[in-house]
């Protein structure tokens, strides 16, 4: 059920082998003649995700204030990201074009990646050359194309990518890491993005920005002298020796691989509109809207083997009676739900893999016991918890009571009231989560849509399916089926399985809105 890297590329990537722009010209002309009704509908949909200020970028993190709709289908399989390649000579305005596209797209989950972060690390000698403007940065040999292809491929299939960023000129002095995850659109820009066949193959849309060479030189002079503190002579020397020949030898010829050539860069409004419209169409084709399909999908199927229900003891039943009763006061609701969670967590831990061990006792005998396989010699435990905010968070205290010092990650998923789709808003996961067993927590699982998104996030971070356990106080049968169908190796652990969902996708008899009742935010 994992993503299949070898499957044919999805619609819209028809341009993979075209050496002229003719195929995509057709595509674009088709777009122009299409009725204007569709774009306006699209506009509305994307506007509902929030205004323009929905991305906060800091040096190390990107925070999305508008959610990401599902990027996988109801079988949990991935939809590929749309990769845009952007090529053009030095100072041709690639970044400006990229930013124009990003703001016009109005889609929050966009990753902008620059070829500049793929320069090969310079050695001592090359450093000296660089200082004297003698090192050729404008040659394919200066770039690490293999790493570029690998990174782009990973981003394309939705994987989490960690990239080391060596300092541009002094690699030894500092290096930071960029975390990239969760893009629906990847824009890759650079001077030689079309100079490698493997790179071109990853791209779904290839844009060449054409700017007059005089303008480019003027911009370059201005930028290098005022912003980078270089002298006129040095900049000209570098330009004549490397930049200009490189453009003529490598960059200019690569225009033949472009799907569209944009003269005058970002000023070209017509080109910008065409590009944005095309990308929107492609995203629409890839978009999913399946929450309302989920509940009926697996009616009357036997419950899956991966489902583990805590024994229905008097205590479990009594605790359920308390927390399901709408008349239960909040302090009792909190107390009893915590008790129930503890029982659930203890049960879940017993499902982890254990190994035999023998210990010495103070009674001078040996005892044949068991040990969790994730327990390391240094005392650390390869186990972490991840809660699906907000309701999943209420299960954290019970987990911490049972697992000392456990590391906790959080994923915020909210249902978009307009589309009724879950949307990913925020995530923060423990480092090296792929080496851990992961206890994923949500108070209730109704359709399973949020749980599936959270599991997809974990898989994208390379956590193996069999190392994931989804814990929930109450699950609806349909949710169990949906999750188990999409992720057959994920263990589902709960204290009760309710039969149905009502027309609002609420579990019945259910428990109401768990988060609102726990946090006191209900009406």
């Amino acid at each position: 059920m994992e993503e299949d890297l070898s499957r044919p590329r999805s619609a819209g990537s028809d341009s993979s082998n075209c050496s002229t722009g003719s195929a995509s010209d057709d595509t674009f002309s088709a777009k122009i003649t299409s009725p204007p009704a569709t774009p306006s509908k699209k506009k509305q949909r994307t506007m509902s995700t929030g205004g323009n200020e929905n991305v906060i970028r800091t040096n190390t993190r990107t925070i999305y204030t508008a959610g990401r709709p599902p990027w996988y289908n109801s079988q949990g399989q991935l939809k590929e990201a749309f990769v845009i390649g952007l090529c053009g000579g030095s100072a041709s305005g690639k970044t400006t074009v990229a930013n124009r596209i990003i703001s016009a797209l109005d889609v929050p989950w966009v990753t902008l990646l620059s070829m500049d972060s793929f320069y090969k690390v310079l050695n001592e000698e090359q450093h000296k050359l660089a200082e004297n403007n003698e090192y050729n940065f404008d040659h394919p040999d200066a770039f690490d194309f293999d790493l570029m292809v690998e990174t782009l491929k990973k981003l394309k299939v939705g994987k989490h990518v960690e990239k080391d960023d060596p300092c541009f000129l002094l690699p030894s002095c500092c290096s930071s890491q960029t975390q990239m995850y969760g893009a629906n659109v990847v824009i890759f820009e650079g001077i030689m993005t079309f100079c490698n066949k493997a790179l071109i193959d990853v791209m779904d849309l290839k844009i060449f920005v054409e700017t007059d060479s005089d303008i480019r030189l003027a911009r370059r002079l201005k930028r290098d002298i005022t912003e980078r503190g270089r002298d006129l002579e040095g900049v000209l020397k570098q330009y004549n020796k490397f930049v200009k020949p490189a453009f003529e030898q490598f960059i200019e010829p690569s225009v033949k691989d472009a799907d569209i050539v944009v003269p005058r860069g970002a000023e070209n409004d017509v080109a910008m509109t065409l590009i944005v419209q095309h990308v929107h169409d492609q995203l629409e084709k890839r978009g999913f809207n399946f929450r309302s399909e989920l509940p009926q999908a697996h009616v009357n199927q036997p419950l899956p083997d991966t489902l583990h229900v805590v024994e229905n003891t008097v205590q479990v039943k009594g605790l359920h009676t308390f927390i399901r009763n709408k008349a239960t006061p909040r302090d009792e609701f909190i107390f009893y739900s915590k008790r129930l969670t503890r029982i659930l967590v203890e049960h879940a831990l017993s499902l982890l893999p254990f190994e035999d061990c023998v210990v010495d006792t103070p009674q001078s005998t040996q005892y044949k016991g068991k040990r969790f396989v994730g327990k390391q010699a240094d005392g650390t435990v390869k186990l972490c918890g991840v809660s699906i905010l907000r309701a999943g968070e209420v299960m954290e205290p019970a987990l911490c009571e049972v697992c000392k010092d456990i590391r906790l990650g959080k994923i915020l998923i909210q249902t978009n009231l307009e589309t009724e789709e879950p949307e990913l808003h925020y995530l923060r996961l423990p480092k090296d989560i792929h080496k851990d067993f992961v206890i994923l927590m949500d108070a209730t699982v109704a359709t399973g849509a949020a749980a599936m998104m959270a599991i997809r996030v974990l898989l994208d971070h390379d956590v193996p399916q069999e190392n994931i356990m989804l814990l929930s106080l109450i699950m609806a049968e349909s949710g169990v089926h949906s999750v188990a169908y999409a992720f057959p190796k994920v263990k589902l652990v709960t204290t009760a399985v309710d039969k149905e969902l009502n027309e609002n996708f609420h579990i019945v008899p259910g428990i109401g809105n768990f988060g609102d009742r726990y946090f006191g935010t209900g009406t």
């Binding site: 008349a327 107390f335 006792t361 969790f372 008899p509």
Partner: protein, 227 residues
């Protein structure tokens, strides 16, 4: 309002004890259903290399599991409630009228686990000391809730070794409470110990996590840090 009836399920007859290891004690002895997690807790508690912090942590977890199972032995009645979605849930209600009694000192280690589950439960205490020369156990102090005679009693003592201490404690309790109302919660017990206790008091219920000829008799010392 809808009154659709779903979500019910029988929770009554359920064998708690593992019948293959009842050590000739019939239904009087109930052993927690073993699983790897419980085995790990027992392993940590028994391991002489375990730090005190880990020991207390794991002991508290095991105690909580025994207490939760102990509460399952208490009476309850059917009760239906309405959920916030407007449906009926057929559940159960715990019957009031229970109390805990701990045998000092090590039984007190289990009070916290009981208190975590039942916030305001009444807890009585019995102090019993064993003469180390004769092995004879003597009651020094006992304090119970006044109406203990009407209550079910969860008697708490983590290690049941010879059974002498428990026998003395139940003798005192029987002056106030019918024998059948006493449920002994213990973490570890020996086959001999449990047999002795049940032979003495055929109506008592004993609940434990493990029956093994060797018990971690250092429990109280290590739990309270007095070794």
């Amino acid at each position: 309002m809808k009154t659709k009836e779903t979500g019910s399920g029988d929770c009554r007859p359920r064998p708690t004890s593992d019948q293959t290891v009842n050590h000739g004690c019939g239904n009087q002895l109930k052993v927690l259903k073993p699983n790897n997690q419980i085995r790990e807790l027992q392993t940590v508690i028994r391991d002489c290399k375990t730090s005190r912090g880990d020991f207390v942590f794991c002991a508290d977890r095991l105690i909580r599991l025994v207490v939760e199972e102990g509460l399952n032995q208490l009476p309850y009645k059917e009760r239906s409630v309405t959920t916030p979605t407007g449906y009926t849930y057929h559940g159960v209600d715990f019957v009031q009228g229970n109390c805990g009694v701990s045998i000092m000192r090590s039984g007190e280690a289990m009070e916290h686990g009981l208190r975590d589950c039942c916030r305001s439960i009444r807890i009585g205490k019995i102090l019993i000391k064993t003469n180390e020369d004769t092995g004879e156990a003597r009651v020094y102090y006992a304090k119970f809730p006044p109406d203990i005679g009407r209550r079910k009693v969860l008697l708490m003592y983590p290690i049941l070794n010879s059974g002498n201490t428990v026998i003395q404690a139940v003798k005192v309790l029987k002056e106030h409470v019918p024998e059948r109302n006493v449920i002994l919660l213990t973490l570890f017990c020996t086959p001999n110990g449990v047999r002795t206790v049940i032979n003495h008091f055929p109506e008592i219920t004993v609940l434990t996590s493990e029956v093994d000829p060797i018990t971690p008799i250092h429990f109280g010392q290590k739990y309270f840090g007095t070794d």
